[in-house]
C-alpha cells in the first residue's frame, strides 16, 4: 500500500519524509518536480503520477504537497482519502497545518504518522484514539511535562480501539455539558450571461462540537427530512435508523467533527438569495474599460442578507481598477488579478453598486 510519504513545501524542498517499509530515496520526487514545472498552477498537477518503478499519489493542502509513494496496485482514492485524513489530523492537533507548524512539532508529527499506518496500511485514524495515544501539545502540558518528566505518549491501549465505537474515547467528563451544531450550506450556481440560472446545487454540512460526559446517545430529527436528497454520514450515525425513520441517532465522538453532509442536486430548484446585474466592457476607449455591477436580493424569504462578499477574477490583461462603491470596500490584487468587494449587508432600498474604470495593458504593446 503506502510505501513512503514526502512532504514538500511550495519552493520544492522535501522537508519531511517517512518510510513505512524499506527506504525509498527522495530522488523519486524528481518525477513530481518535473510535473510541477510543467503545470501552470499547483492545482494542475495530476494527483497520480506513474514513474517507471513507483507511483506517486499526491494531495495539495495548505500550500504543501503530501506525496505518497506506492509500488504496487492500490486504489488511488484510498491513498488520497488517507492523505487528506492525515492533514485533517494535523489540523485537529495543531489547530492549523503549515510548514512551520509541522517543523515545530516534528516529533509529534512523526509519532502520529507512525501510529496511523502500519506497513503502509491504516491502523488508527480516528482522532479520538490518536489523542489518547499521543496527547496533543499545548502550553500547559508542555510545562507540566518539563517539570514532572512525563511524556505525551500514553502507555495503555485506548479502549476505543477495541470497541465497536472506535471514534469515542472513554471517561470523558465535563462540568458543563454542551453540544453545538453548525449548519453550513453552500449554493453552487452557474448563471449565464442573461442572468438566468443554468444549474444550481446545494452542498450542506452539519458540523458539531460536542462536549458531553460519559457515553451519550443522541438523536437529531428534522422538520422536513425529505429535503435531504443524498447524504453521507460520520461512521457514528446508525444507517438503519435513518433509513427507516429519517432520524439521526448516534453516539458522538468527543470534540469537533462533521456529523453529516448532504447534497441537493441540480434536478431540484435551488433558490439563490442574490442576483448580480453587471455591465463590463474591457476595452472601450484606448486602454480603459468600464465596469458597473449592482447587487440585489432575490427570494430571501423576508430575511436580510449579510456579509456579502463578491470576488471577481479579472483577465490577465487588467492592470488596475479605479472604482467607486456606494457601500463597502473593494480591493484589487494585481498579482492574482482578483477583485474583492466586501459589500456587507444588502439594503433593499439602496442596492449596492460598484462602478468605475479598469486599466488594461495594450495588446499591441506586447508585440514590440
Amino acid at each position: 500500500m503506502i510505501h513512503s510519504l514526502f512532504i514538500i513545501n511550495p519552493s520544492g524542498d522535501v522537508f519531511m519524509e517517512k518510510h513505512w517499509k524499506s527506504v525509498i530515496s527522495r530522488s523519486v520526487c524528481d518525477y513530481f518536480f518535473d510535473h510541477q514545472r510543467k503545470a501552470s498552477s499547483p492545482e494542475d498537477i495530476p494527483p497520480v503520477i506513474a514513474t517507471p518503478h513507483h507511483y506517486l499519489i499526491s494531495v495539495y493542502r495548505s500550500s504543501m504537497f503530501f506525496v505518497a509513494v506506492c509500488t504496487t496496485e492500490v486504489a488511488p482514492l484510498f491513498v488520497v482519502e488517507f492523505l487528506h485524513r492525515v492533514v485533517d489530523t494535523f489540523e485537529d492537533y495543531f489547530s492549523e497545518c503549515t510548514e512551520s507548524i509541522i517543523k515545530e512539532h516534528y516529533v509529534v508529527v512523526y509519532e502520529l504518522l507512525d501510529e496511523m499506518l502500519d506497513n503502509g496500511f491504516p491502523l488508527a485514524t480516528e482522532s479520538n484514539i490518536l489523542k489518547e495515544l499521543i496527547k496533543p501539545p499545548n502550553i500547559l502540558r508542555t510545562i507540566a511535562n518539563t517539570v514532572t518528566g512525563k511524556s505525551n505518549v500514553s502507555s495503555t491501549l485506548p479502549s476505543g480501539q477495541l470497541s465497536n465505537i472506535p471514534w469515542r474515547r472513554t471517561g470523558v467528563k465535563y462540568t458543563n455539558n454542551e453540544a453545538y451544531f453548525d449548519m453550513i450550506e453552500e449554493v453552487d450556481a452557474i448563471i449565464d450571461k442573461s442572468g438566468s440560472t443554468v444549474c444550481a446545487e446545494i452542498q450542506g454540512y452539519i458540523d458539531c462540537c460536542i462536549k458531553l460526559s460519559g457515553m451519550p446517545d443522541l438523536s437529531l430529527s428534522f422538520v422536513n427530512p425529505r429535503l435531504f436528497d443524498d447524504v453521507s454520514f460520520h461512521p457514528c450515525v446508525r444507517f438503519k435508523r435513518w433509513e427507516s425513520e429519517r432520524v439521526l441517532s448516534f453516539i458522538p465522538p468527543d470534540g469537533n467533527f462533521r456529523l453529516m453532509s448532504y447534497h441537493i442536486g441540480s434536478q431540484s430548484i435551488v433558490a439563490i438569495p442574490v442576483y448580480v446585474r453587471h455591465s463590463l466592457c474591457l476595452r472601450e476607449s484606448g486602454s480603459g474599460g468600464r465596469l458597473d455591477i449592482t447587487l440585489g436580493p432575490k427570494q430571501t424569504l423576508g430575511r436580510t442578507i449579510e456579509n456579502v462578499v463578491l470576488e471577481i477574477p479579472m483577465p490577465k490583461s487588467v492592470l488596475n481598477c479605479g472604482l467607486v462603491t456606494n457601500q463597502g470596500k473593494y480591493t484589487f490584487d494585481p498579482v492574482s488579478k482578483l477583485l474583492v468587494w466586501e459589500v456587507g449587508r444588502i439594503d433593499v432600498t439602496k442596492l449596492p453598486n460598484i462602478r468605475g474604470t479598469v486599466t488594461n495593458c495594450h495588446f499591441s504593446a506586447l508585440y514590440f
Binding site: 500500500m1 519531511m16 519524509e17 492545482e43 495530476p46 494527483p47 497520480v48 506513474a50 507511483y55 494531495v59 496496485e73 486504489a75 488511488p76 482514492l77 488520497v80 482519502e81 487528506h84 517543523k103 516534528y106 516529533v107 512523526y110 502500519d118 506497513n119 496500511f121 491504516p122 485514524t125 518539563t146 511524556s151 505525551n152 500514553s154 502507555s155 495503555t156 491501549l157 479502549s159 480501539q161 477495541l162 470497541s163 465497536n164 465505537i165 469515542r168 472513554t170 453552487d188 452557474i190 446545487e201 429535503l227 436528497d229 443524498d230 453521507s232 460520520h234 438503519k240 433509513e243 427507516s244 441517532s249 447534497h263 442536486g265 441540480s266 434536478q267 431540484s268 430548484i269 427570494q299
Partner: protein
C-alpha cells in the same frame, strides 16, 4: 573548517573536553532555531558525540531530548546511522516515549546494521509476553518491521503466537505482520497462509479488515480461503473500519466475478450481444430468456450487493467508489444506476478526489449513458475548476450527449469557447466536433457554429476549429463547397501548423470541388515552402501530388518544384517522402521505360476514398481494468494488479460457502454485543433483521424471502433455535465458565441435552436441502410441521421477542478488554430505539425500480395570469409551471409566480389567504412578500398538489390586512404529470397492462408532411411534461410520465404510417387524464 552543529549544549553539563574546541555561543543560536539542524555538513567524525553522551546518561529527559533530535534528523532524511549502537541500547528504557522513539529509529536503520539490530531482539521477545496488550502489539509491530532475514524464524513464531492471542488488537497486528514477513522471505508463504486462514476465520471487525488486506498481499489467488468466510464478511462489512471496507469490497468484487454467473447474461443489449456467441438462433435466445428470467441471482450474490449498498453513504470517498465499482462489475444492469447519485456527491470533495471520480465516471459513461444522464448538469464546468477537471467534465458531457440533451450541452460548449484557458477551449471545440459526428441531427448546426468560429480573433480557436471541421467534412463532404473555399482563404492568415496542414489536406482531398482554388493555394505554398513547419511541408507535398494527378496541366511543374525543394530539406522524413512520391508520380526520371505498374495505379492510391475518422472517447479502452483501481486511472497495468476474471458460464458449487449454522451466529455477533448494553434487546435485534432494502422485482423475491424466513425464524423466536446456537457454542467453550453458568441457570439442563441431539440432526439435514425456501444460511429445522407453521406466518407481522441468544466466542474476545471498556454498539444497528414498523413507504416508491424520475427536457415559457392588475388595484400576478419537483413534496407541481406592482402605492404583506382543504388538493405557500414598491416585480414559488385533477385550484391572495382577492390557478393537463425514464421493454410491458378503457387512440393527418418524427418531439414536450423513451424504431415515438399525486403511469406513443398520418395512443390508468392529454396533443400537433 568546523561547522557548528548538532552538538548543542542547552543544559548539558557533561560536555567535557569536547566543549573546549569551539565557542559555545554559536551553537546555542543554531539549536534554538531548529533542534534537528546541524550535523549535515559536518565532516567531523565526532559530530554526534554529544548525542551519544546524552543517550548514555541515566536521565530520562536527556535521553528523550537526544532521541527527539535524532528523530528530527530521520524525519528530514539525514543520515543518522552512526548513532545506531548508542540508540539501540535504549530499547530497554522504561520511559515509554523514549522507547517509542527508539522503535522508530530501529525500524528505519535496522536493515543497514543487521548485526547490531540483533542485540535488541531479546527485548522484543520478552515484550511479546507482556500482560499489557499494547506492549505485546507494539513489540510485534517493531519486530516484524525489522527487515533482517536472520530473524525470520523468530518473527514466524511470534506471528503464530499473536494470531492466537486473546486480544483482537494483537491479532490485528499479527495480520499486519504477515505481509511484512512475506516480503522479507517468500519461502514462508505456505506457513503464513495457514496463519492467515485462521485469522480470516476471526469474527471481530477489528481483525477481518487487516486479515483480508494480508490475504490480498500474500495469496490473492487462494480464493478458496474466502468461501467459508464469504457470508461473514458480508454481514460484518458495515462495521469494519473504512479502510478495511475498501479492501474487503475490492476483494469480494473479484470473488463475485469468479463465483457467480453473469447477472446480465439474459438481457438483450446491443453492447453485450457479442458476449453470447453460444446461442444459435434468435428464437432460442428468447426462449432461453423466458426461462432464465426467473432463476436470477445467487442468494449470496444478492447478499453481497445488499450489504455493500448502505456504504454508499460513507463519508469516505474511497469506500463509496469501491461500492460503485462493485455494482459496476457485478450487479444486474437494472441496479447499477443506484450508485450514480453517490458518485455525483463525491464531486464536491477535494480536487484530487474529483479528478479520480471523474475519471471513473468518464469510463463508465461510455458504456452506461443512462446512468448519469439525470445528473448532466452536475458536469457543467465551473470557472474555478482546475484545467484537468474541466477536460474530464467535457469528456463526460460529450459522452452523455443524446438527441434530447445535446441542445443544452451545445449551449454550454458555446460558452466554454469564450473561456480564458487555451487547452480547455481547444477541448471544447473538439467536444463540439464529437457531438456533431455522434448525433446526426445537430451536425449541420455544429458545422455552422464551427465555421463562424473561423472568424474568431483568437488564433488558437481558429486553428482548432479548422482541425475539427476537417474531420467533420470527411463524413459528408458533398454539400460543403463554401466551407472549403472559406478554409482555403484562411491559409493566408492562420499560422498554427496543425491547422494549415488540415486545410491543405482538405483541399487536396476535395480538389475537384474547388478546381480553381486548389492550384492557386499550391502556388502560394510552394513559395513559402522552405519556411513552413515539417507537418505543413508534408501536406504541401500531398496536395501537390494529388493535384498533379487530377489536374496535371496546371500543376505538374509546381509539383516537381515542390518535390525538388523537399529533396534538399533538412528533415529526413521529408526527403524520404519526396523520393517515394517522385518515383510513383514521375517514374520516368529513374528509368526511361514508360510508366511503371505503380504509377498506373497512382490515382487509385492517392485518391482512394478514405473512411471518416470516428471520434471516440479515449476512455473506452479502460474497460479492461477494474474501475477505481490504479491501473484503471493510469490506463496501464500496474505492478501487482489482479485481473478481474470474466464471469464463469457455470457457477461453481455454492455449497462451498456453506458453513454449518455458523454464519447465522456471525450475523448476530454485533447484535449480541449491542444487547449487552441495552435493556430492550428485542428492538435492537429486530432492526437488524428488518433490512429495509427495497427490492420488489420478481426475481429478487426469492432471495428476499429466504432472508425473511431467517428473520422470522429468529423473530418468532422458537426458543429452540436459540438454544441450539447456545449449545453449539457452549459445547466448544467449556473454559468460559463464568458466563456459561449465568446462561445455564436460565433453563433446565435436561432440555439442553435434548436440543443438542436435535441440532446434530439439523446439521445433517441442512446439507441435503437444495433449494427450499429456507436456505442453508439458517439452520434447517428438522420437524416438518414446525416449518409449515413458520411459513404460514407473514414475515412482517411477527412480533419481536427478546431472545437470549448468546455468542460466547465474542465474549471471549471482550473478556480481556481493559477494565475501562466501552459499551459496544454498532452504527449499523438501530440501537434500542429503532422502530419496528415496516418501511412501507419505501416499498411503494420502489415498486418499479426501473422507472426513474427524469428531469424535464423543456420548461415551457407560457405564462398565464393569476391576478389581473385591474381587479386588484395594481397587483398583477403571473404564473408559469417550471416542471421541477417542488421541494416540499414530490406530488406538488411547482409554479413560478411573478408579482408586479403596477399601482402607485407600495403593497405590503402579500401572502396566501384561505386555501382549499377538500379533495386532496393542497398548496404550499410562496414566501410572504413583506413589501413590493411601485413598478418593481418579484418572484415566488408556489407548490400545488392538484390530486391528479385538472380542476382549477381556488384560493385567496391577501394584501395588507384588509384586501383579499380570490384567484383560480388553472393547470393544463400536461403539468399534472412528471417525466419519467424507463427502458423500452418496460414501456411495452406497462403498455400491455393498460389496454381497453385505459387506452385512448386518435388519428390525425398533419397539414404539412414531416420527414422526421423526431421533429415533433419538441412540440409534444412543450405541451406536456413527458420523458422521452429511447427507441430503436424510427417510425414511432414514445414518451412516459407519472401523475404527480398517485404516481399512475402515463404512456404516450406516436406512430406514423407515412409522413402525413399519425396515430396517437395514450395509455393511462386515470381515464380523464388520458383523454384530456390526447385532446391536447392532437391540438398541438394539428397546428
Amino acid at each position: 573548517m568546523y561547522a557548528p552543529g548538532v552538538n548543542s549544549s542547552t543544559t548539558l553539563s557533561s560536555s567535557s573536553s569536547y566543549n573546549n574546541d569551539r565557542p559555545p555561543s554559536a551553537e546555542a543560536v543554531e539549536v534554538a532555531t531548529d533542534p534537528a539542524s546541524g550535523g549535515f555538513f559536518n565532516s567531523d567524525y565526532k559530530k554526534h558525540d554529544d548525542l551519544k553522551q546524552m543517550l548514555d546518561s541515566n536521565k530520562d529527559n536527556l535521553k528523550l531530548e537526544a532521541m527527539k533530535r535524532i528523530i528530527g534528523m530521520v524525519a528530514k532524511g539525514r543520515e543518522a546511522s552512526d548513532l545506531f549502537p548508542a540508540v539501540v541500547k535504549n530499547v530497554v528504557s522504561k520511559n515509554i516515549e523514549v522507547k517509542k522513539l527508539v522503535y522508530v529509529y530501529l525500524v528505519r536503520y535496522a536493515e543497514e546494521q543487521q548485526d547490531l539490530a540483533l542485540l535488541s531482539i531479546s527485548t522484543f521477545q520478552r515484550a511479546l509476553k507482556d500482560p499489557n496488550q499494547l506492549i505485546r502489539a507494539s513489540a510485534l509491530r517493531v519486530l516484524s518491521s525489522i527487515r533482517v532475514t536472520m530473524i525470520v524464524p523468530i518473527v514466524m513464531l511470534a506471528i503464530k503466537d499473536a494470531a492466537a492471542d486473546m486480544s483482537p488488537y494483537v491479532r490485528k497486528t499479527a495480520a499486519h505482520a504477515i505481509p511484512k514477513l512475506y516480503s522479507l522471505d517468500q519461502d514462508q508463504k505456505e506457513e503464513l497462509i495457514q496463519v492467515l486462514e485462521k485469522l480470516l476465520y476471526d469474527k471481530t471487525t477489528l481483525v477481518v479488515g487487516s486479515a483480508v488486506m494480508a490475504f490480498e498481499e500474500v495469496c490473492p489467488e487462494r480464493i478458496d480461503l474466502i468461501h467459508k468466510n464469504f457470508r461473514k464478511l458480508c454481514s460484518l462489512l458495515v462495521d469494519v473500519d473504512e479502510w478495511g471496507q475498501v479492501v474487503i469490497i475490492n476483494m469480494l468484487t473479484r470473488y463475485a466475478r469468479s463465483q457467480f454467473t453473469d447477472p446480465n447474461l439474459q438481457d438483450v443489449d446491443e453492447d453485450e450481444e457479442s458476449k453470447r456467441p453460444f446461442y444459435e438462433d434468435e428464437n432460442e435466445v428468447e426462449e432461453e430468456q423466458q426461462e432464465k428470467r426467473a432463476p436470477t441471482l445467487d442468494p449470496d450474490h444478492r447478499l453481497l450487493l445488499r450489504s455493500a449498498k448502505p456504504l454508499l453513504q460513507s463519508r469516505n470517498a474511497a469506500v463509496v467508489l469501491s461500492v460503485a465499482q462493485l455494482y459496476h462489475h457485478t450487479a444486474p444492469r437494472s441496479e447499477v444506476h443506484q450508485v450514480a447519485k453517490a458518485m455525483i456527491r463525491l464531486l464536491r470533495s477535494h480536487r484530487e478526489v474529483q479528478d479520480i471520480v471523474l475519471t471513473s465516471i468518464a469510463a463508465t459513461a461510455t458504456r452506461r449513458k443512462v446512468m448519469f444522464e439525470p445528473f448532466l448538469k452536475s458536469f457543467f464546468v465551473r470557472s474555478s475548476d482546475a484545467t484537468h477537471i474541466k477536460l474530464l467534465k467535457l469528456e463526460i458531457l460529450t459522452s452523455l450527449a443524446t438527441e434530447s440533451s445535446v441542445g443544452i450541452i451545445l449551449r454550454e460548449l458555446q460558452t466554454y469557447v469564450a473561456a480564458h484557458d487555451p487547452p480547455f477551449v481547444a477541448a471544447a471545440i473538439q467536444a463540439i466536433g464529437r457531438c456533431a459526428s455522434n448525433i446526426k441531427e445537430v451536425t449541420d448546426t455544429c458545422l455552422n457554429g464551427l465555421v463562424s468560429l473561423l472568424s474568431n480573433k483568437d488564433q488558437a480557436v481558429v486553428a482548432e476549429s479548422v482541425v475539427v471541421i476537417k474531420k467533420l467534412l470527411q463524413t459528408q463532404p458533398s454539400a460543403h463547397r463554401e466551407i472549403i473555399i472559406q478554409m482555403a482563404k484562411l491559409v493566408d492568415s492562420v499560422t498554427v501548423p496543425q491547422a494549415r496542414a488540415s486545410i491543405l489536406w482538405l483541399l487536396g482531398e476535395y480538389s475537384e470541388r474547388v478546381p480553381k482554388i486548389a492550384p492557386d493555394v499550391l502556388r502560394k505554398m510552394a513559395k513559402t515552402f522552405t519556411s513552413e513547419e515539417d507537418i505543413v511541408k508534408l501536406q504541401v507535398m500531398t496536395l501537390a501530388v494529388k493535384l498533379c494527378l487530377t489536374n496535371p496541366k496546371q500543376t505538374k511543374l509546381l509539383c516537381q518544384y515542390v518535390l525538388q525543394l523537399a529533396k534538399y530539406d533538412q528533415n529526413y522524413d521529408l526527403r524520404d517522402r519526396a523520393r517515394f512520391l517522385r518515383h510513383i508520380i514521375f517514374p520516368a526520371d529513374a528509368e526511361s521505360g514508360g510508366p511503371t505498374r505503380l504509377s498506373k495505379q497512382a490515382k487509385k492510391i492517392f485518391l482512394a476514398p478514405k473512411p471518416a475518422p470516428v471520434p471516440e472517447s479515449h476512455f473506452k479502452d479502460r474497460e479492461q481494468f477494474q474501475l477505481g483501481s490504479l491501473s484503471h486511472y493510469i490506463n496501464t497495468k500496474a505492478n501487482g494488479y489482479q485481473e478481474l476474471p470474466p464471469f464463469p458460464l457455470e457457477a461453481p458449487d455454492p455449497k462451498a460457502r456453506d458453513v454449518e449454522t455458523e454464519p447465522q451466529v456471525m450475523e448476530q455477533a454485533p447484535l449480541f454485543t449491542a444487547k449487552k448494553v441495552s435493556s430492550k434487546k428485542d428492538s435492537t435485534f429486530y432492526s437488524d433483521t428488518e433490512s429495509p432494502e427495497d427490492e420488489s422485482e420478481e426475481d429478487e423475491n426469492s432471495s428476499d424471502e429466504d432472508d425473511d424466513d431467517d428473520e422470522e425464524e429468529e423473530a418468532s423466536s422458537s426458543d429452540k433455535d436459540d438454544d441450539d446456537n447456545e449449545d453449539e457454542e457452549s459445547s466448544g467453550l467449556e473454559e468460559k465458565l463464568p458466563i456459561k453458568v449465568v446462561k445455564s441457570t436460565a433453563k433446565p439442563k435436561s432440555d439442553e441435552e435434548e436440543e443438542e441431539d436435535e441440532s446434530d440432526e439439523e446439521d445433517s439435514s441442512s446439507e441435503s436441502v437444495s433449494d427450499s425456501d429456507s436456505e442453508d444460511e439458517s439452520s434447517e429445522p428438522s420437524s416438518v410441521p414446525k416449518k409449515q407453521v413458520r411459513n404460514a406466518k407473514p414475515a412482517k407481522e411477527s412480533t419481536p421477542v427478546a431472545k437470549p441468544k448468546s455468542n460466547l466466542d465474542l465474549l471471549l474476545d471482550l473478556d480481556d478488554v481493559s477494565p475501562a471498556f466501552t459499551p459496544i454498539m454498532t452504527p449499523s444497528l438501530g440501537g434500542f430505539l429503532t422502530p419496528m414498523s415496516t418501511p412501507s413507504s419505501q416499498v411503494k416508491t420502489q415498486l418499479f425500480p426501473d422507472i426513474q424520475p427524469a428531469s424535464a427536457v423543456i420548461s415551457p415559457n407560457t405564462t398565464s395570469e393569476l391576478l389581473n392588475k385591474i381587479n386588484s388595484n395594481g397587483l398583477e400576478i403571473k404564473y408559469r409551471f417550471t416542471r421541477s419537483p417542488h421541494l416540499y413534496s414530490p406530488s406538488m407541481a411547482s409554479a413560478e409566480l411573478t408579482f408586479h406592482n403596477h399601482g402607485p402605492d407600495e403593497l405590503t404583506d402579500i401572502r396566501v389567504g384561505e386555501k382549499p382543504t377538500s379533495g386532496g388538493v393542497s398548496i404550499h405557500d410562496f414566501a410572504p412578500i413583506p413589501s413590493l414598491s411601485p413598478g418593481s416585480s418579484l418572484m415566488g414559488t408556489i407548490g400545488v398538489d392538484f390530486a391528479d385533477s385538472t380542476q382549477p385550484v381556488n384560493f385567496e391572495i391577501k394584501i395588507g390586512s384588509d384586501r383579499t382577492y380570490p384567484v383560480a390557478l388553472k393547470v393544463p393537463v400536461g403539468e399534472v404529470i412528471r417525466a419519467v425514464a424507463m427502458s423500452e421493454e418496460l414501456f411495452l410491458k406497462q403498455q400491455g397492462g393498460l389496454r381497453g378503457m385505459n387506452e385512448n387512440t386518435a388519428k390525425l393527418s398533419l397539414t404539412k408532411p414531416c420527414t422526421d418524427l423526431k421533429s415533433l418531439t419538441n412540440k409534444i414536450l412543450t405541451v406536456a411534461n413527458l420523458g422521452v423513451i429511447p427507441n430503436s424504431d424510427s417510425s414511432t415515438l414514445r414518451f412516459a410520465a407519472q401523475t404527480l399525486s398517485s404516481k399512475s403511469t402515463v404512456l404516450v406513443s406516436l406512430l406514423s404510417s407515412d409522413n402525413q398520418n399519425l396515430t396517437i395512443t395514450v395509455n393511462c390508468e386515470k381515464m380523464v387524464i388520458g383523454s384530456m392529454l390526447i385532446t391536447q396533443l392532437k391540438a398541438c400537433l394539428a397546428d
